[in-house]
Every structure is written in structure tokens, then in C-alpha cells.
């Protein structure tokens, strides 16, 4: 936890609906909405948002549901923020469809809002900043299949069924498999983005499939769960995950994990917040930045070892080159 941050936690269960983090700088206030406090990815988004705000002499106010990914909680946080009227909002919907009424409330209150991570199904946004789950899944799977020489028995461990990120990542995995007719998909089973479930799924699949060469997991936690199962059964397979978490980078370093698709929460937080502040200052912005997929591997993991707290946001010129359309 950074020293800069002060945490005001509610004292009662009901009042605990919001946790706000305030930075010391003055200037514009940017309200940053993320999905939960548990996923390291959103921690990276918040650190990125804080870094951008600090660099531009603005301040952030974080809104995070206490119950991870809670739709009603994020809706009530929006009602709260519309009354408080921050200068701008950086918004990750906990659900890209269900939060549309919330986005409409923000629009009605005339607060400029930048959409990051999950693209909202509707609403007016200054800009969208995100990674493309499909190409991230495709590129990371391609890397594994290339390492296997375009052949082998593959298992997919899916995330939460029906979540936007998972649908696109799994579609990317499957398209990469189609490009490699020498591969065989043995099973595509759900691990719900949970480490324990992925471990158990993998233990079960190890029993029914004597030869597994590659595992494509929709996130890093599940990839790590699968690796534990393989190690426990004295089996080896190449495993990839997605998100580029610190844990995954460590595992790539030690050779346990082959690769991880970098979802780059830090950059999304940085660029989303920078765009919000630039639009308030009437500086030019771009309507959309979809980050090009980057695969973290043994060849490039060193640059990911810097803790996110000590990383710097890219300059605006560099940021627009990250994949602006």
C-alpha cells in the first residue's frame, strides 16, 4: 500500500459501500471506477490512474464495490458520484450491459467520462481505452502453439461463462487452434477465473487424458492452478495465462509458465486518466486506444519486473502510438 494513499473505510456494514482513496495534489478531481479490490489487475489500473493524476497535478477518488463486481453497488456509487460532481470520471463497468443505466445517469449529469477495460454497450464517452481480449487470447495461444511446433494435445480452461473478457479470450484461443491443424483440443472446461477450480479441473483432466501438451488458461490465476495440478501429478505441459500479473512474471522467470498475455492495467489506468484530464483542459484527445497485444515471455519478462508503483506513465505522444485509431 502506497504511503500517499489514505484509506477511509466505512465503520458500519452499510456505510462500507464505498472505499475512497484520495491523493494529496490539488487541481481537478477524477473519479475512478474499478470492478473490485481483489484482482491485481484493477490494483494496477488504480496505481496507473494515480500516477497519471499525480503527473498532471490532478487528484483521484476511487470507487470500488466492496462485494467484488457487484452491479447494485456500482449503480449506487454512480448515484453518489453524480451528486458529488467530480470534474471527470474514468469508468470500468462491472457489467458492460447492466451498467448502461448508470452510464446514462453520468451522461445526464454532464460529467465527462472515459470508458476503460470493458467497453460499455451504450452511453456517451469521451474515449475508450482498453486491450483487445480476442487478439490477446489469439497471440498468447499462438505463442504456445508455435513453441509446441504446431502440434499437440491442448486443454482450455475457461473463465466465468458469459463474461465479456472470457468469451473473447476463448474465441482467440480457438482461432489459434484452428490455424494449427496439427493440434487437438481435448477439452474446454470452466475454472471461473478461480485458482482452486482450475486446479481441480486440471487434476480431473489429467486422469482422463494421458497426454496433455499445452494448457490455455483465460487468466493467470487459473494458469497457476493448472501448473500446481500438473506438478502434483508429475506431469509436464506448456501453460499460458492472461493478464501479465506479477505472479505470472515471476513464474515465467522461473520457467513454470510459458507466457502471459499482458492486459496492462497500469497503462489503461494511466492513459484513461490522462485523456480525462486532457479533455477537461481542452487539449486534443483520441476517441479510442485499443492497446496492441503484448505477450510476456522469457525473452521480455525483465521489463515487467519493475513494480507497478515505480513505473511512469508514457508521454501523450507515446500513448497515442500504443494503438490509437
Amino acid at each position: 500500500m502506497s504511503v500517499r494513499e489514505t484509506i477511509y473505510a466505512g465503520l458500519t456494514v452499510l456505510a462500507a459501500a464505498t472505499i475512497a482513496t484520495a491523493a494529496w495534489a490539488d487541481g481537478e478531481t477524477i473519479a475512478v471506477f474499478t470492478k473490485n479490490q481483489t484482482n491485481p489487475y484493477f490494483q494496477a489500473v488504480r496505481v496507473g490512474a494515480d500516477a497519471a493524476a499525480k503527473a498532471l497535478n490532478a487528484k483521484t477518488l476511487h470507487y470500488i464495490p466492496t462485494k467484488p463486481d457487484s452491479i447494485p453497488e456500482q449503480l449506487s456509487q454512480i448515484e453518489d458520484v453524480v451528486v458529488k460532481k467530480p470534474d471527470a470520471i474514468v469508468f470500468t463497468p462491472v457489467d458492460y450491459k447492466a451498467m448502461v443505466p448508470g452510464v446514462e445517469k453520468i451522461n445526464a449529469a454532464n460529467i465527462p467520462v472515459v470508458n476503460i477495460t470493458d467497453r460499455s454497450a451504450a452511453g456517451k464517452f469521451v474515449s475508450f481505452v482498453g486491450a483487445d481480449d480476442y487478439s490477446l487470447g489469439l497471440e498468447t495461444a499462438r505463442y504456445l502453439l508455435k513453441t509446441l511446433g504446431g502440434k499437440g494435445n491442448i486443454v482450455i480452461i475457461e473463465g466465468v461463462k458469459g463474461s465479456l473478457t472470457n468469451v473473447d479470450r476463448v474465441r482467440g484461443f480457438n482461432d489459434a487452434l484452428k490455424e494449427n491443424p496439427g493440434t487437438k483440443l481435448l477439452a474446454s472446461q470452466p475454472g471461473n477465473y478461480q485458482r482452486l477450480q482450475a486446479l481441480q479441473v486440471m487434476e480431473n483432466l489429467i486422469e482422463s487424458h494421458p497426454q496433455i501438451d499445452g494448457v490455455l488458461a483465460s487468466n493467470d490465476a487459473m494458469a497457476m492452478g493448472a501448473i500446481e495440478a500438473l506438478e502434483g501429478a508429475n506431469r509436464t505441459a506448456l501453460v499460458i495465462g492472461i493478464n501479465g500479473t506479477k505472479e505470472a512474471v515471476d513464474a515465467i522467470n522461473s520457467g513454470k509458465l510459458l507466457a502471459s498475455g499482458d492486459y496492462n492495467g497500469f497503462l489503461q489506468g494511466c492513459v484513461g486518466t490522462t485523456i480525462a484530464i486532457r479533455s477537461l483542459r481542452k487539449e486534443p484527445v483520441v476517441p479510442e486506444i485499443v492497446l496492441k497485444p503484448t505477450v510476456v515471455t522469457k525473452a521480455n519478462y525483465q521489463s515487467y519486473e519493475t513494480p507497478i508503483e515505480s513505473r511512469a506513465c508514457p508521454t501523450w505522444d507515446d500513448a497515442t502510438k500504443l494503438g490509437a485509431k
Binding site: 500500500m1 484509506i7 473505510a9 456494514v13 462500507a16 473490485n36 479490490q37 481483489t38 484482482n39 491485481p40 484493477f42 490494483q43 494496477a44 488504480r46 466492496t66 462485494k67 467484488p68 475457461e158 461463462k161 481435448l186 477439452a187 474446454s188 472446461q189 470452466p190 471461473n192 478461480q194 485458482r195 482452486l196 477450480q197 486446479l199 481441480q200 479441473v201 487434476e203 480431473n204 483432466l205 489429467i206 486422469e207 482422463s208 490465476a221 497457476m224 492452478g225 500446481e228 506438478e231 502434483g232 501429478a233 500479473t245 506479477k246 505472479e247 515471476d250
Partner: protein
């Protein structure tokens, strides 16, 4: 023991044969699922797979076994999952800081036990209904864990410690030994000791139990402390198997643990049920997931299949017992 207490126990004894009958039917339901899976899948009856199922069921059983005692007193402990998460994160820190797995185990058991005691105190001294006391505790624990972990993951533990979760002894996984030990202790405690019988009596009729001289508060304190300590034990198994601790592991554990208790035939109204029944309940839930993985059931259908089989298993049992009577 006074004569009055002995009389109070007489009805509790009468429940016993009923309980055994019930466990027999539930066991039959579990065996029916096994039979179906053995026919449908070649790999189900592999020794490796059977050990898998037992090892996977053990984690659920540890959480659910302590919970069974609480439910026997007509109470509920909704904080078990959140307890596992906090205990795992604290124990993980202790192991990382001190390098001593033994201190980590102690930290997990102590954290779990203290949380359980606090639950017990809320229920006895403050007379807060257990559902609300433990629901409040669930949020307090989640809040503490999210704050403490701040989106980080603690991972990488000594190999010796990980043996607790993934090691083998004479061909059997260590968690399976622990399962057998705690199943025996739980069964003997509930069925063969005076304290166990008093717990049944409290659940069956708290007024009669108090009038017959059973120290109600102390026994309730005991069951909540046991439930908390078992959650602490589960957190050790979790840490040792997954080689990591993160803040969001609890939520997906609570409801299955309650389901295991109830599927195992323990009544929410108290006084009826067995620890062995809970083991069978945990086994049924684990078998369903194992079977779906082995048969490669499409991820979209898995929640539905789980629901239908759980309902069918309990309905068949009720029907069979009615016919029996």
C-alpha cells in the same frame, strides 16, 4: 450428570438410528452417481481419479465439518469462506516473514479459532442471531482481507509445507489422511461424547437443554470456535495445495460448504444430522464436478447439471425414506 440430564438425552439417542438411516440413503445416492460415472467414463474408476475426488472433497469437508456442529445447534456460520481467505493470507505472510511452516499453521488455526470465538460471543453474550452475526463477520473479514492484501497475491511456499497439500504417504494423498482423521474425530465427538450429545440436545430443544443443566453458552461458544478453527485448517490445506493466497478465495467456498452440510442430511432446524453425512454431501458435490470434467460436459451446461443432480439426489433420498416408513 443428573437424572434430569440423562432423560434429556433420551430423545437425542432416538435420533441416532434415524440419522444412520438417512446417511445410508445419501451414501446410496453418492454410489449411484459413482455407478453412472463408472459406466460413462473409462477413467472414473482409476485409482488416481478416486484419490483426486477424495482430495478435492477434503477441502470442502474441513470447512463443512465444523459448520455441521453449528447447524446441529440450529445456528449458521456464513463467515467460513471469508475466514479461510483471511486465515490463508495471514498464514501466508507469517510463512514468508519467518520461513517457518509450523508458525504459519499456528497462525492459520489461531486466526480461524479467534474468528470462531468472536462469532460465538456475538451469538451467546450479545444474543445476535447467528445468521446476522456471522453475515456481519463475513463483511468485516472481507474488508480486512481486501485492505490487507491490497490486490496483491502471496505466493511461493517452502516445499516441505506444500507437502501438506500435495504430498503422498504410502500412496495416499496427505489431505486424505487428514480427512479420515477429522471424519473420525468429528463422528466420535458428536456421537460418542457427552459434549456432542449436548450439542444435539441444544439443537433439538434449547429450552429443555437449558432446563436439564446443559451450559448452553459454553457449548455454543465451543461449536463456533470449532467451526472457525476448521476453516483455519482448511486455509492451510488451501495454501499448501495452491501455493498461494489471495483475497477473493472465500466467496466460492461458503455456499458449497453449507450445501454439503444440508445435502448430507443435517437439518437447518438443528438436532438432526451427522458429520459423516456432511462428508457424503461434500463427496456428492465433488463427484458431480469431477464427472462433468471427465465427460467434457460443455461449460455452459455445467451449472445447470450441478443443480439438477443435487436436487435429484436429495429428492430420491426423501422419496426412498418415505417409502421405507
Amino acid at each position: 450428570m443428573t437424572d434430569i440430564t440423562k432423560q434429556a438425552f433420551a430423545p437425542a439417542r432416538a435420533f441416532m438410528s434415524d440419522d444412520l438411516l438417512q446417511v445410508f440413503y445419501r451414501l446410496a445416492a453418492a454410489l449411484l452417481i459413482c455407478l453412472a460415472l463408472a459406466i460413462l467414463s473409462d477413467s472414473f474408476l482409476n485409482l488416481g481419479n478416486i484419490l483426486n475426488v477424495l482430495r478435492q472433497a477434503s477441502l470442502l469437508f474441513f470447512i463443512a465439518s465444523g459448520l455441521t456442529l453449528v447447524v446441529l445447534t440450529a445456528g449458521l456460520d456464513l463467515s467460513v469462506g471469508a475466514n479461510v481467505a483471511l486465515s490463508a493470507c495471514l498464514a501466508g505472510t507469517v510463512i514468508h516473514q519467518t520461513g517457518s511452516p509450523a508458525l504459519g499453521v499456528l497462525a492459520a488455526l489461531a486466526t480461524g479459532g479467534i474468528i470462531g470465538l468472536l462469532n460465538g460471543l456475538m451469538v451467546t453474550a450479545l444474543r445476535i442471531p447467528s445468521f446476522i452475526a456471522t453475515y456481519g463477520m463475513l463483511w468485516v473479514l472481507n474488508g480486512l482481507t481486501y485492505w490487507y492484501m491490497a490486490g496483491e497475491i502471496i505466493h511461493g511456499f517452502p516445499a516441505a509445507f506444500r507437502q501438506i497439500g500435495s504430498g503422498y504417504l504410502f500412496g495416499l494423498p496427505i489431505p486424505v489422511y487428514l480427512l479420515l482423521i477429522f471424519l473420525s474425530i468429528g463422528t466420535i465427538f458428536a456421537q460418542r461424547t457427552i459434549w456432542g450429545q449436548e450439542i444435539y440436545a441444544i439443537g433439538a430443544n434449547p429450552v429443555a437443554a437449558r432446563l436439564s443443566g446443559i451450559p448452553l453458552s459454553r457449548r455454543l461458544l465451543l461449536v463456533y470456535a470449532v467451526s472457525g478453527t476448521m476453516a483455519g485448517l482448511a486455509s492451510i490445506i488451501f495454501l499448501a495445495r495452491l501455493n498461494s493466497a489471495e483475497a477473493d478465495i472465500g466467496e466460492s467456498l461458503t455456499l458449497p460448504a453449507i450445501a454439503a452440510v444440508l445435502i448430507g442430511g443435517t437439518s437447518l432446524f438443528g438436532g438432526v444430522g451427522t458429520v459423516f453425512g456432511t462428508f457424503v454431501g461434500a463427496l456428492i458435490l465433488t463427484l458431480v464436478l469431477n464427472g462433468m470434467n471427465l465427460l467434457s460436459v460443455n461449460a455452459s451446461w455445467q451449472p445447470l447439471v450441478t443443480g439438477v443432480i443435487v436436487i435429484l439426489a436429495v429428492w430420491l433420498d426423501i422419496k426412498a425414506r418415505r417409502r421405507g416408513e
